[in-house]
Structure formats: C-alpha cells, structure tokens
Symmetry: C2
Subunit: 328 residues, 2 copies
C-alpha cells in the first residue's frame, strides 16, 4: 500500500468517534472504489493489524501490530558479543543481502541485521521466503569463525539447536528439527535457516546465518499454498509472542553454543541436535540433485552430514537434500 | 598525482619542441618545487611511462604506457563462456570487491572484471597486493560450479595451471607453481591467485578467482622490500608483453581446463599441476596457523591438499600454509 494512503487511513481510524469506520466513508475520503478499500484493509492485515469487520458498522482496529525496535532488541540483551551491533530496518529486500555487504566491509563478529519486513526474502537454493511485516523474526547474523569452509554445515545445525531452545524457553512449545535447516511445530514448518558464507578457498571469512521465524502470523498471513505445511508460534500457542524477547533468547542460546563449539568442537552440539531431530531413526526419502534415496536416517556424522541406510544396508552420506519423513 | 597536474604535465610534454622538458621549466609552469617535479616524474613512471632524464636537457617521454581496453580483450577472444562479459575499469579499489558484488547480484558464469590499477588490491589472508597502473593484469573471474565448498581449493590449482600454460605460450618463459597459489619465475613471484567464494553451507553459489600478474613492471615499479622476491614477465623476458593477448590466452586455457575438470574431475588437473609444481619432491617448511612443519613435500591429494612427510615418516595434510622451499 502506498505510504500516503496508509497514513490517511490510519489517521481516519484514529479520529473516528466510535472506533468503527464504514467502507463507504473510507471509499469517499480516499476517493477510491469499495474494492480498493477492501484491498487496503487486507494490506493492513498483512502488516499485522487485527481488524474486525462488522455488518452495517464497518471496520475497527482491534490490535495494532507489535513492532520491534533497535532499543527493544538491545535493552536487556545478555550476550557479550552476538547482537551487540544491530542494524535495524523497517523494510529491506532481504536481511541476507545487507549482511553480505556488511560482512564484506569488515563489520565485527556478532553484527546482526533485523528487519520488520523482507520484500524478497530467500531460503535455501534461492527459494523465496514469505516475510510479511510485523509478524515474524527476519534476521541475519554475522560470525567469523576461523574454520575451513567444509565446517559451515555444522553452524546450520548449531543454529537450529539455539532457535529450538529459545522457542522452548519463550513459548513452552516443543519444536522438532528437520535436517538440515527447518524447524517444525506439529509437523508444520515454523522456522527456516539459511547459512551462507564468504570464504577463501581454505578459510572462512564470514558466515552469514539467516533466520526466518514465523512468530505472530495468523493463518491468512500465509499464501494459500502454504496453509497445509506452514505454521507460526502464535498459531500453535494460541497467543502472540514477544518477538524482541525471542530474538534476545536466540542470541543468548546461540552465543553459548557457539562458544562451546569453538572450544570443544562439534560433538556436544551433535548430541543436542540429535536429541531434537525428528528424522533420525525414521524412514526418510531424500531428494538430492543426483537422485532420490530412500531408507533409514541413521544420524549425522561429526561434520553434520546425514547418514542414510538403504534397504541393501548400504550407508549413503548426504550433503544436501530435501527430506521427506516417512509417509508425510 | 592529482589529475589536473597530470594533464598539465602531459600537455607540456606533447607541446615541447625537442621532446625534452627541463625540470626548471616544469617547476615554473606547474608552480611547484624541484622536489615536487621529481615526485611527479616518479608518479608517471609508476603509471607505466618510460622517462629518460638527460643532464642539462631535462626529461623526455620514451614510451607511453600500453593500455588495455574492453575492445582489446574481447576482440579475437576464442572462449565460448569465460570473459564473454567484461567489466573493464580504468581504476578500482580491487577487482575482487567489484566481482563479489556482481556475483551476488547474479551475473552469469564467466563474467570478468579487469582494471588497469587497483588502489587496495588484496591477496590471501587480506595481505595487500601492489597493483600499479598500466603494468600488470589485475582481474577477477566469476565461476558458478555446482560443487560443495570443500572443492574450492582445486580451482586455485586449476587456475595456476592455466596461467602457467598461458605465460609459456605468450612469452616462452617457464614458470613454476608454488603451492597453493603463487607462480614463480626464476624463484621470484610473478603471479598471485586469490580464490574466494560465496556459498551456502553445502553448495557453492559463485567462485571469484582473483589473478594478479606482474607483466610489464620494471624493477622500480616494485616497493624496495619486494625487489629480492618479486619479478615481472618483462623483467625476465627483457621486453614488454602484450597484456590483452595474455588475458585472452589465460581465459582460453582456463576454459579448457575447467571443462575438463567438470567432466572428468580433478585427477587430470592434478597431474598437470604436479608437472609444473616446484615444491613437490623437495624439502619444505610449511608455516600454518597452528605451527611450523618441516619435511618432504610428497604431492597433493585428490582434493588439492598438500601432503608433507616429516622426519618420523608421518604424513601431514596441509590445508593452508605459507611454504618455504628448501633453503630459500
């Protein structure tokens, strides 16, 4: 929605006497058709406004979106390094894109890019990630571990553990991790992680971890084709979740795990990861670039590679795939 | 040198009657001291001008720098993919930086960034790379192989073979490769390669191969501290080298090797590489982040990792190090 129309509309809602604003009145004051009014109201819903529509009275704002701000993220943040530098933007193309530029320009480890909205959010393999305004946590964190590029997949798994722990802590929900980078609640996807890096051939310069978390979405925030496979924390919990608190909790869990990882290696992280993983010990179908494999998910290797045992008892090591669990 | 002064000075040289321009006259017309004149003349030398100084007559331009242009690179280029898109700039901070941005924005495989000068050229581990104007080949090539990040070191070795073959073809010189990314002529460094990438945790998005080749440098183009360890093709050859021709030859050799690599894997490249490698079969000292190792360089693995056998006959696998050969 154009900023000017949005402003006008919100001012009308603020100034109306009985909270309600009729479609007729909006249409007159904005000088647009009733269909356009309906479209503007839908846009506000997409931005996180809860709007009630009552016959003969019109529309009423029940709840304005909960916004996050730079202050809210940093105030009370308990980490020593992660998130100590925050780049907060109201709207971006993608937080990954901004973080890539910052990483190249040499910002310190722990720098975080957060936005209320991504217009072209991306997931793995350049798939799009739907990131409507004021509803989710869309952020990218820059790490600078002194590691070879082959270790980067471990950081995806580490991040999955941190987000799972944070969701448990803040909401009490029990998420499951699906290899390599999804977090599910009641078998529906609530979180995606995108680990990217800038590296020399033998040495990581920076890892840019993108996190997309569906927090306060209502079901109609999702495009229709996602209704059966996506969910949000608030849908599963039945109430809204404080996003700044969730961000702080994720950063603290991430920092703790990351320090442990740098000191003791991947093994302790691997055990935690396996304890949350939904696919391990189950029959899975793995779709890779070169073909489809079916068999038992045995676990992950020290490097974070998935081990699949096929029906001839042969172990396959899977670096990259889309996983389908059992008869999902 | 400020552009205005440079322009004025070159105009004076163009307009002088007997080719010679006295220091006195330059000093008067530019309104600067004799020391400043000397400095400006040195700056022209750094830019690739050959200047003769004759007592009582002054300075004379013997040779203006040979410039490369977009046209010269693309005209007669025999590749089908590499270098078909060229971004040519007179001066840049670093071609890697520009190529990184282009790669992120999705330019096609084979896109090449070339510049006449880098003001902040970089080598491995963020070391600076001296790149004076009109003397070298400073370029960055974008590849998009469908490979895991751990394979990237192979592309450094492949590039080293391509540049070595191109130098042989264009100049007749016999360069040696020093693991992992240097090319030496008569034991002095003439070429550096910097392989960087943008990747997802398990999949390369783009490899950005930076190549710095000292071509038409005279010894005083190098900072003093490099005189004993650096050289240029023209110093070793005794005449100047056509840089556009060298670029075209490198791109063609690279394309042939790259196609062979994608079809048949690293093994044929490995054999070629070992045939040019100076360190293999010799005693070397390898300085890594974690310490210094000494022993016999046995060869490289299928993945391009250096194998060093120490005096206890134990094989060490070296991913990243600075190598010193024998008693260099």
């Amino acid at each position: 929605m154009a900023t000017e129309i949005r402003k006008k509309l919100l001012r009308m809602f603020t100034e109306t006497e009985d909270d309600f604003l009729s479609g007729q009145k909006i249409s007159e004051e904005l000088g647009c058709s009733r269909t356009a009014v309906w479209k503007h109201i839908e846009d506000l819903r997409q931005e996180g406004f809860e709007l009630e529509a009552v016959r003969r009275k019109g529309y009423r704002i029940k709840k304005i979106p909960d916004k996050i701000s730079h202050n809210e993220i940093t105030l009370g943040l308990k980490t020593t390094s992660l998130g100590r530098q925050v780049h907060f933007k109201e709207s971006v193309t993608s937080t990954q894109k901004i973080a890539h530029q910052l990483a190249y320009d040499g910002v310190p480890e722990g720098t975080l890019v957060v936005s209320e909205e991504q217009t072209t959010g991306r997931g793995r393999l350049n798939r799009s990630w739907h990131s409507p305004k004021y509803t989710g946590v869309w952020m990218s964190l820059i790490l600078r571990p002194n590691l070879p590029p082959a270790k980067a997949p471990q950081l995806t798994l580490l991040t999955a553990v941190a987000i799972t722990q944070a969701i448990e802590e803040v909401t009490g929900l029990r998420p499951d991790i699906k290899w390599p980078n999804d977090i599910l609640i009641n078998k529906k996807k609530a979180v995606g992680i995108l680990t990217e890096m800038q590296a020399e051939a033998d040495k990581i310069n920076s890892v840019i971890i993108g996190m997309g978390i569906n927090v306060n979405h209502q079901i109609d925030h999702f495009p229709k084709e996602l209704h059966s496979i996506a969910t949000s924390l608030s849908i599963e919990l039945g109430k809204t979740v404080n996003r700044a608190e969730l961000i702080q909790s994720i950063l603290l869990h991430l920092e703790n795990l990351y320090e442990r990882y740098l000191q003791h290696g991947f093994y302790p992280i691997k055990l935690l990861w396996e304890s949350y993983a939904i696919s391990i010990g189950k029959r899975i179908i793995a779709r890779t670039i070169t073909g489809t494999l079916e068999g038992l998910a045995k676990g992950i290797t020290e490097d974070g590679i998935l081990m699949l045992e096929d029906d001839q008892n042969c172990i396959h090591y899977i670096h990259s795939a889309d996983i389908q669990i059992g008869n999902d």
